[in-house]
């Protein structure tokens, strides 16, 4: 935009108001979405809804098996993804010396992060469900989600490991510790809050994903007991309730539960990040 025909001061004023407005608009979008979901969803939520079985395909009853499915796939996927993501980050920060190799590894993580979730869904179906014969199960879905969470955990852990001051390392070496002892006893503890943040971000991605698991998890509304049982996580339940027109109130209730879980996780992430920053600044 060229404002030659109006004074510098006027254009300054105009642009400032545009900037402020865009900030307000962003806030308003979030407020409207949250308010809509929570105002219509919270009245549906009660003990019976949280701890009840799914009845009539979700038209009545509660969502207890759905919540358990969600926690189940999220937990198992994080247990698989954390060692892989953190291990890769440790290698990149502490061992890798060949620049070509680190570029390949980093490009691999970037590519993995940008593959659309529905492509992961197809891969889960053809590889885990059919080729490895794991069937429609919590386990198949968890494996797909684990692959999706690895790049997130890897990227955040790498930043946090590389920001550990080198003086810590030198102190440890000076005392005669080996490389792995230094990593295990000094570097990982110092970077832990950052690593935890990465793991929590990975969890957010796992718990809110539906497209990647819709063809791996089996969409069963019965309580999953074993890891090889089928299940149906919260986002998938919401999708089915909304698109098949089963029950609008229960869809709002499910959406509200999902949004509350994500809000709590976001709050926890900020808590850990702040703690980490304070520690790094010596507070």
């Amino acid at each position: 935009m060229n404002f030659n025909f109006i004074s510098a001061r006027t254009s300054q004023k105009i642009m400032n108001s545009i900037f402020v407005l865009s900030g307000i608009l962003t806030l308003a979008i979030l407020a409207i979405i949250l308010a809509d979901i929570l105002i219509k969803g919270l009245p549906v939520i009660n003990m019976e809804f949280i701890f009840g079985q799914v009845e009539n395909q979700g038209e009545s009853g509660g969502i207890f098996p759905i919540i358990i499915s969600s926690l189940y796939v999220t937990l198992v996927s994080i247990l698989i993804a954390t060692p892989l993501g953190v291990g890769a980050a440790i290698y990149m920060v502490e061992y890798a010396s060949n620049e070509k190799l680190t570029n390949i590894i980093r490009f691999g993580a970037e590519t993995l992060a940008s593959i659309p979730s529905i492509v992961f869904g197809l891969f889960g179906l053809s590889f885990f469900v059919i080729f490895l014969n794991l069937g429609w199960s919590i386990f198949s879905a968890s494996l797909v989600l684990a692959i999706m969470a690895i790049p997130t955990i890897f990227q955040v852990a790498e930043v946090s490991l590389s920001s550990v001051p080198s003086i810590y390392k030198e102190g440890s070496y000076g005392l005669g510790a080996t490389k792995w002892q230094t990593i295990y006893k000094v570097i990982i503890p110092a970077a832990l809050p950052g690593i935890v943040t990465g793991v929590i971000l990975g969890m957010t991605r796992s718990i809110s994903e539906a497209a990647a698991v819709m063809y791996a998890v089996g969409s069963s509304i019965i309580m999953p007991i074993s890891i090889f049982d089928p299940g149906r996580p919260l986002p998938l339940h919401l999708y089915v309730l909304a698109t098949e027109g089963i029950s609008l109130p229960n869809a709002f209730g499910t959406a509200a539960v999902l949004v509350i879980i994500v809000l709590v996780i976001t709050f926890l992430t900020n808590y850990f990040t702040e703690k980490y920053q304070n520690k790094m600044m010596g507070k």
């Binding site: 001061r9 254009s11 300054q12 642009m15 400032n16 545009i18 900037f19 402020v20 865009s22 900030g23 608009l25 962003t26 806030l27 979008i29 979030l30 979405i33 949250l34 809509d36 979901i37 291990g87 890769a88 290698y91 061992y95 390949i104 590894i105 691999g108 993995l112 940008s114 593959i115 659309p116 979730s117 529905i118 492509v119 869904g121 197809l122 891969f123 179906l125 053809s126 590889f127 690895i150 080996t178 792995w180 809110s208 994903e209 539906a210 497209a211 986002p235 919401l238 999708y239 909304a242 698109t243 609008l248 959406a255 999902l258 949004v259 994500v262 809000l263 996780i265 976001t266 900020n270």
Partner: protein, 291 residues
């Protein structure tokens, strides 16, 4: 085991973990291509890519309309999202006080954390009836999907361009302000040009998220496998084509859906390569090379 042998073993195992991502990508590529290949072989690559009839029952598998659908929805979403998100990022980085900035950061973070199905649900309940009453038709349209997508890519574009705006050296700004430039003149002539590669990366990241989004789009776009005639007509995207038909597809139809994923994958890879290229090209032009 001696200490040295143990150390070597640990290094080897970590090396394998580090290569795991690349290994997984290879397996994913192999399986998607392997499953998609029979459809491309039987139907013909160009006929598949540029065919305009998708009718699995009659053995017609042209995905051209869906490529257009995907690009159309993404393009409109970008037109809505780019001005809003860059202006919001500028507000947070250059104009707002620390207090306002620390308030807006978690807002953007929360927007990016909301599950895509929740966005789709919001679109289905609020936006579809709104578009129907304002612009006619069923309300399921490219326009509706583009609004939802633009909201979903806001946090991506805002946070990446914010980081890039913040990393412009303070000296540059102070020099400009010292010459008597106003804050806006400084932003326009100094801050924006220096932060440009980061902003372009932000836009491309948002774009690849929009192209790859599935369920939120399915819920509002109408999913008619026809060439869209206007912004208010329904359409079908590559992603929604896969998700809608996978549950009952068999035989060549099953393979054709994997071939659709191949097209989608190539589109995303193209965007990623462009993003890398742009970042490298512009970062050399600016002194220091760290921008």
């Amino acid at each position: 085991m001696t200490k040295i042998a143990a150390e070597a073993l640990i290094e080897k195992s970590l090396f394998i973990l580090a290569l795991f991502s690349c290994f997984v990508i290879l397996i994913i590529l192999c399986f998607i291509f392997f499953e998609g290949f029979p459809a491309i072989q039987e139907y013909g690559f160009f006929k598949f890519l540029f065919g305009t009839i998708w009718s699995p029952n009659d053995g017609q598998f042209g995905v051209f309309d869906m490529i257009i659908g995907s690009l159309y929805v993404t393009f409109i979403a970008l037109i809505i999202a780019i001005p809003l998100s860059i202006s919001c990022a500028t507000f947070m980085a250059e104009v707002a006080s620390n207090k306002v900035r620390n308030f807006l950061k978690p807002v953007v973070q929360t927007l990016s954390g909301i599950p895509s199905v929740v966005y789709g649900f919001f679109g289905l309940i609020i936006l579809v009836p709104f578009v129907r009453s304002q612009f006619g038709g069923t309300g399921f349209s490219i326009f509706t999907a583009a609004i939802i997508l633009s909201i979903m890519i806001l946090p991506t574009i805002i946070s990446v361009s914010y980081d890039s705006l913040r990393s412009v050296p303070q000296d540059y700004k102070e020099a400009s302000l010292g010459l008597g430039a106003t804050n806006w003149q400084t932003i326009r002539r100094v801050v924006f040009p220096s932060a440009l590669p980061g902003i372009i990366t932000a836009i491309i990241l948002g774009m690849s998220r929009a192209v790859g989004e599935t369920l939120a789009v399915i819920m509002v776009v109408g999913n008619v496998a026809k060439m869209p005639s206007s912004i208010f007509s329904p359409a079908r995207t590559l992603t929604s084509n896969i998700a809608l038909e996978m549950s009952y597809a068999t035989g060549i139809h099953y393979n054709a859906l994997f071939a659709t994923a191949v097209v989608l994958f190539m589109l995303i890879m193209l965007l990623l390569v462009v993003a890398n290229y742009v970042q490298r090209k512009y970062s050399i032009d600016i002194g220091g090379g760290t921008l």
